[in-house]
């Protein structure tokens, strides 16, 4: 069992000068289940994309040896041809086609370009039996639950005579039972000699099925552990988070006042499926001048919570109340939210934040024309003055305020969005991944802005997947998992280990509270 099916040696991958992977070594033995774990942004998906040819040969440094031969993939097809199949976190099924059509998509059972539907159906059925999926091959994919869709992805992988199966968070969206089935299927595959790489946040699952576990942190390999009875979750968590936090976090003179903003019993369902609760009975408070963080894994419901607070911009609210200065507030739309002094800086500035084809000036003024207009006519001089002010204050590097925002760098784009919302004069500023995808210098500038706003007495609610950022910037941190608050940390208890423990314990079941006074 000791020969290696895959060796990735000294892999380095940069995005715009930022190292996403730094000299990563990753070795997988023939026939094992190898788990790859690490925090968000640790580089797991990047590593997998390098392996699968999503990032073609030449765009990264290092060597990939598969079955002893060096591979230089230029696209996904090439890696699939030799048996490497990746099942991504976002499923890639075509929703209006049937199961059978999806299974053989790109690999049709055909003769002279004409599809043999009989064979397609029979073959699909045979595959479904193999993986224990009880489903008519002719049902339409989008009528199936997410668990079955996941299995269809796997059936699709099997049509490609897979030798190395890679699953990126396969159980993230599955319930207990479906997860269980899927993991058993992996064990089944192992008996048949298929090697698997499992990427998962759910350490319990990892400990259950994996033979070995490789831990990535900040784009580097930390270590590879052998999964025996002695291996404990705590050890993995420690390896995942243990790192130095640099001192590029500016200090703040905290001056925390009374509770300004509070939500109670906040429950929100998916807009299309009211039985699916995305946010489940959440309550939180934020004081004046306080920076409060929300930590959690991807899909924990953090963005959904923020957007539902912001004028019910997400899903369907089932219950809950907002209190501002201890008075109940009725906030059913975005303009009401703005009126009540709430601002929301989105995590996805290109899709939900900026008007890319418009100027810095027009982007800054967008949500507060009241301040610069009279009788619905814009006072352009005031508008120019205001945007010049933010350009200077926040050091937005643009040619002038008339430059289109699509031409700016990520950090400067973020500062434009931030300017818009600060111009709207909020009392509560919700920042969703405020430093995602921007360089270190711009990050520090944004931290400084956040601190300044807090010192001015504004309340800040900050969502981030970068734990060090939350730990250093926040006075208090709520930990979210699966739409619920599963922990509240402050003071000495505010550590990465505790955040991860809260999440992991919730995944296991049960709730913990730390640092509550």
């Amino acid at each position: 069992m000791s020969d290696y099916i895959l060796k990735m040696l000294n892999i380095t991958k940069e995005f715009y000068g930022i190292k996403a992977l730094d000299n990563v070594n990753f070795e997988v033995q023939q026939g094992e289940i190898h788990a790859l774990v690490g925090e968000n942004g640790a580089g797991k998906s990047t590593l997998i994309n390098v392996l699968g040819g999503v990032y073609p040969y030449g765009t990264y440094k290092g060597k990939i040896l598969y079955e002893g031969k060096e591979c230089k993939f230029t696209d996904i097809r090439q890696s699939e041809d030799i048996g490497i199949v990746i099942i991504h976190q976002e499923l890639t099924l075509s929703p209006y086609l049937t199961c059978a059509e999806n299974v053989f998509l790109g690999n049709e059972q055909s003769k002279n370009g004409i599809i043999d539907w009989g064979k397609t159906t029979v073959e699909a059925k045979r595959l479904f039996e193999k993986i224990g999926l009880d489903e008519d091959p002719n049902s339409i994919v989008n009528t199936l639950g997410i668990g079955k869709q996941q299995l269809i992805e796997i059936a699709k992988a099997l049509t490609k005579s897979v030798k190395l199966l890679i699953l990126d968070e396969p159980t993230a969206a599955l319930n207990e039972e479906d997860s269980h089935k899927l993991l058993n299927l992996l064990l089944e595959f192992k008996k048949n000699g298929i090697t698997s790489i499992l990427i998962s946040h759910k350490l319990k699952e990892v400990l259950k099925v994996a033979d070995r576990i490789t831990i990535l942190r900040d784009g580097s390999t930390v270590e590879t552990l052998i999964n025996d009875e002695n291996l404990k979750e705590e050890k993995i968590i420690k390896a995942m988070v243990g790192r130095d936090i640099g001192d590029y976090y500016p200090t703040r003179y905290a001056n925390i006042g009374n509770v300004f903003f509070e939500i109670k019993n906040w429950t929100v369902a998916d807009a299309l499926d009211q039985n699916r609760k995305i946010i489940d009975d959440v309550g939180l408070q934020i004081r004046k001048g306080e920076v409060v963080g929300i930590a959690g894994l991807m899909g924990a419901g953090r963005t959904e919570l923020a957007m539902s607070i912001f004028g019910e911009s997400f899903g369907k609210k089932l219950s809950g109340d907002i209190f501002i200065d201890n008075k109940k507030a009725d906030i059913k739309s975005v303009d009401k939210a703005i009126e009540n002094g709430i601002a929301y800086v989105t995590e996805d500035r290109k899709t939900y934040g900026l008007i890319l084809i418009d100027s810095v000036k027009n982007n800054i003024s967008l949500s507060n024309f009241k301040k610069i207009s009279k009788n619905a006519i814009i006072n352009k001089n005031e508008e120019i003055k205001a945007s010049e002010k933010y350009k200077n204050d926040f050091n937005i590097r643009a040619k002038d305020i008339l430059q289109n925002t699509e031409d700016l760098s990520g950090g400067n784009q973020q500062k434009v969005v931030l300017s818009r919302w600060i111009f709207s004069d909020p009392s509560l500023l919700i920042l969703d991944e405020p430093t995602r995808g921007i360089d270190v210098g711009a990050k520090r500038e944004i931290y400084t802005i956040i601190n300044r706003l807090a010192e001015e007495g504004k309340s800040i609610l900050m969502i981030s997947s970068e734990l060090p950022e939350l730990l250093k910037m926040c006075d208090r941190i709520y930990v979210m998992n699966q739409g619920r608050i599963v922990g509240e940390l402050s003071g000495d208890m505010q550590t990465a280990e505790n955040v991860m423990t809260c999440i992991m314990r919730d995944i296991k079941g049960g709730q913990v509270e730390y640092g509550k006074n």
């Binding site: 912001f310 703005i338 929301y344 008007i355 418009d358 619905a376 001089n381 003055k385």
Partner: protein
């Protein structure tokens, strides 16, 4: 120190997109002026050009706002016919007087717009489908009202808007003196506007275009204004519909550039999700853009039926395409967020001059269609090309 002035080269480069279509329009005019041996720019023909294209231009203004939001309206041709039919029916069959008829026509136009706006903005059905349905629906209703017949003629006063001219208060013999004066007044107003704009820009520390270029631009525009008014004065003076158009352009340019709702319209077209998350009630804005489209279409319908002096079942066919083409030729983006009122007017004039010039040359309607089709493609392709050039 930062430069306070653009160089001449910079200015030309950055403005080439802005002025391409204007330059193209002038080039096309010169081209046909030569080919038609001077007929194109004869006073009579210039007046005709304005009268012939006025209703398309009126619709193009409304269409531009629709296109900026990233949508389209295919129904305007049918709605023009419907308005003509309603007006004719009320006046000829029911002897109603002109003023209430115009009022009712505009109201119906607005209601048609509200109908489309409701389905598009609130029920979220794609505009293409809603207005395609409207195209069929309102054409059908026109046939119902007219029972398939042509209704004519209208009262004289109904035609004032479409075929009348402003009065010459000085009673000039061979020359319409008021028209000449209007040209001069506008020239002065224009110089004043440019001066104010420039000093404002300097005040706020923006880089400005070089003096020489500004002066050249002012001189060219003044010549254009006065040549036009002079030509009109030699014939019958300024047509009423030109006055109407002028005010529409002024009002809608003002709305687009200086008002909050104008900014909302551009923001929706630029990024609807971002607009909504910035507190803009995107549904409402979209709804009113369509109501406005309906209103302007009704106005165009009144002008068109007045000019024809009849209401016909097949009136206005293909107008929607002319109005849409005018916007695209004038630099509007098919994906929304970009476009100017004046651009749409220039685009409309390009089409108008092509039509008119080719008609004078005796080119058949078959080739006219084909050539117009190519011009639309070339104009948009050129726009895409310059856009990618500027980027790099």
């Amino acid at each position: 120190m930062e430069k306070t002035k653009y160089s001449i080269k910079d200015t030309l480069k950055s403005n080439i997109r802005k002025y391409t279509m204007l330059i193209a329009l002038v080039a096309i005019m010169i081209f046909f002026e030569i080919l038609t041996k001077g007929i194109l720019l004869k006073p009579l023909n210039i007046t005709n050009l304005i009268l012939q294209n006025s209703y398309i231009l009126i619709m193009a203004i409304g269409m531009l706002l629709v296109i900026i939001t990233g949508n389209v309206d295919l129904s305007v041709g049918s709605v023009v016919a419907l308005i003509g039919a309603v007006a004719a029916n009320l006046m000829i069959k029911h002897n109603m007087s002109v003023v209430p008829v115009i009022f009712i026509s505009l109201l119906i136009g607005a209601l048609v717009g509200a109908w489309h706006g409701f389905w598009i903005a609130f029920v979220k059905i794609p505009a293409f489908i809603v207005t395609l349905s409207g195209m069929l629906l309102f054409r059908g209703l026109t046939l119902v009202i007219l029972k398939g017949q042509t209704l004519a003629p209208f009262e004289k006063s109904y035609q004032v808007l479409s075929s009348g001219f402003i009065k010459d208060i000085f009673n000039g013999q061979n020359l319409h003196i008021t028209t000449i004066l209007v040209g001069i007044v506008f020239s002065i107003a224009y110089i004043f506007y440019e001066y104010k704009d420039r000093s404002n820009k300097i005040k706020y520390g923006f880089r400005v275009t070089p003096n020489r270029l500004v002066i050249a631009k002012i001189i060219l525009i003044i010549i254009a204004i006065n040549l036009t008014t002079y030509s009109l004065a030699v014939y019958k003076g300024i047509p009423n519909v030109l006055v109407l158009l002028f005010f529409l352009v002024l009002i809608y340019s003002f709305i687009a550039n200086k008002t909050v709702v104008g900014r909302y319209i551009y923001a929706i077209g630029g990024n609807e999700k971002a607009a909504r998350l910035s507190g803009i009630k995107t549904d409402k804005v979209l709804f009113w853009v369509y109501v406005n489209m309906g209103l302007l279409t009704a106005l165009a319908g009144i002008v068109f039926s007045g000019r024809l002096n009849a209401a016909m079942p097949r009136a206005g066919q293909g107008f929607e395409l002319d109005a849409i083409a005018a916007c695209y030729i004038g630099g509007a983006s098919a994906s929304g967020g970009i476009g100017t009122i004046i651009g749409a007017i220039i685009g409309g004039l390009v089409m108008g001059v092509l039509n008119n010039g080719m008609s004078i040359l005796g080119i058949g309607i078959d080739w006219q269609q084909a050539i117009k089709g190519l011009v639309l493609l070339i104009a948009v392709a050129f726009d895409a090309y310059t856009k990618s050039k500027v980027k790099n």
